[in-house]
Amino acid sequence: MGDFTLFCGRAVLALTTSRRLPRRILRAVYEQGAVCMPVIAIVGVFTGLVLGLQGYHVLSRFGSEGLLGTLVSLSLVREMAPVLAALMLVGQAGSAFAAELGIQRNTEQIAALETMGVNSIGYLVAPRIISALLVFPAQAALFVVLGLWGGSLSGSLLLGVDSGVYWSAVERAVEYRDLRECFLKAATFGLLTTSICAYMGFHADRNTSSAGARAVSASTTRAVVFSSILVLVADYVISSFFV
């Protein structure tokens, strides 16, 4: 835990000394953002479709189908979008990042950076952390938009809820504090999961039970598992402050 904190501290400190940072941040934004966008879009639409479907059947028992927009929007904004987008990003970008760092450690690319006098954490990790702070909230926002559209698709087109009623319920339900909670969660998940994936990959050689390719696969698995668990733990902690 202490070593992980030190690692994160070094990454933050490296931001002040790292050279040509904007170019590497842009590249990281592309890798975390553009590359993961199709997955986020698909999961977002289907989450909205399912929420619309399930929500309609629950609400119709109480004759409250008009509240479908409220249910879908608040579920998405406050919980589903930041959590599911983070889990998808961990699965795609986080695992790739941990594996890439593990291979770079194995093939001495990280050692090569250090012998050049380059701050390896500053070069490899810091841009990803900055990028995560931008990309995770942006992906959560995309998830919300597509999820709402998915909810409207199943609610209005398939189940007959009036489209105007659905969208006006959405508009009335979502407040500024809900959006703040959504973006705060997304940014926190981005920071935590990227740091964990970076730490696990960067120290893939510290794995005492395996070495080489197996150490890379073990560290990648650990990175994904720990990140996913931490997303849910952090979600509970942040939610408890907003409820």
């Binding site: 050279r19 093939t107 001495e108 050692a111 012998t115 050049m116």
Partner: protein, 259 residues
């Protein structure tokens, strides 16, 4: 004699296994200095301790008269020293040109245009300019070695550490790599510290050689002194290399077995 690098009493253990047991070494400035020794004697460990990739348990490393325990001296050492890794350690997601430009981009305040020109010049000097846009994975072993050397010399270092520069190469390429090191060492006047177990090539291209045996420097002198040394450990190492060559020749001369 003027020394670029001095190593005093260097010790390194992994768990309970002592690999370096007090290595003393002095590398004259502007020379090609080769550390010989059988595989597994800690030659690479020695080089990695010098380059601070591994931390030594005890001992002192002095570069240009300044001990490397001083953080500023260490930073200065990293700026003036390059390391050529056994496996080249090239960045596989960067092109050849980007690989060579990386140390300039990250450690100097040179402009984009100058970095590009200096990187292309380094590639040109190693006859690699036609492969500037190629990724390392698409280059042959020898070309990767040349690319790694281009990256090592682009910052105009005063000391270059070579970790088994001919590992995995065929005899022709081994000769070519040693010739290349000797050629560029003379052109750029850097001090070269090489660890290898290729005795004939090392003797032909080095100014001084040392023999690392059981964690200590057992011999240090000129290649001629090494060849003529009657010291038992030197003779044993030399003879084992000769014996290996003879046994390989004997195997090759045997009739093929018909199945």
């Amino acid at each position: 004699m003027d020394f670029a690098l001095e190593v005093e009493g260097l010790e390194k253990s992994f768990d309970a296994r002592a690999v370096l047991k007090g290595v003393d070494l002095r590398v004259p400035r502007g020379s090609v200095f080769t550390v010989l020794g059988p595989s597994g004697t800690g030659k690479s460990v020695l080089l990695k301790c010098i380059a601070s990739i591994l931390s030594a348990d005890a001992g002192r490393i002095v570069f240009e008269g300044r001990p490397l325990v001083d953080p500023r001296a260490h930073q200065d050492f990293l700026r003036r020293c390059s390391f050529l890794f056994q496996g080249n350690a090239l960045f596989d997601s960067l092109s050849a040109l980007e690989n060579v430009a990386l140390p300039l981009e990250q450690t100097t305040s040179l402009g984009k245009k100058e970095i590009r020109e200096r990187s292309l010049e380094a590639l040109r000097q190693l006859e690699m300019e036609d492969f500037a846009d190629c990724y390392p994975g698409r280059l042959s072993g020898g070309m990767q070695k040349r690319l790694a050397l281009a990256r090592a010399i682009v910052t105009q270092p005063e000391l270059v550490l070579f970790d088994e520069p001919t590992a995995g190469l065929d005899p022709l390429r081994r000769n070519a790599v040693f010739a290349m090191i000797a050629k560029y060492q003379r052109r750029f006047r850097f001090t070269a510290l090489i660890v290898t177990h290729d005795v004939p090539e090392a003797l032909a291209s080095s100014d001084r050689v040392a023999l690392l045996n059981q964690g200590r420097i057992a011999f240090e002198g000129t290649p001629v002194e090494f060849s003529r040394s009657t010291q038992s450990v030197v003779a044993l190492f030399r003879d084992s290399v000769d014996a290996l060559c003879q046994s390989l020749a004997a195997i090759r001369s045997e009739q093929p077995v018909s199945l």
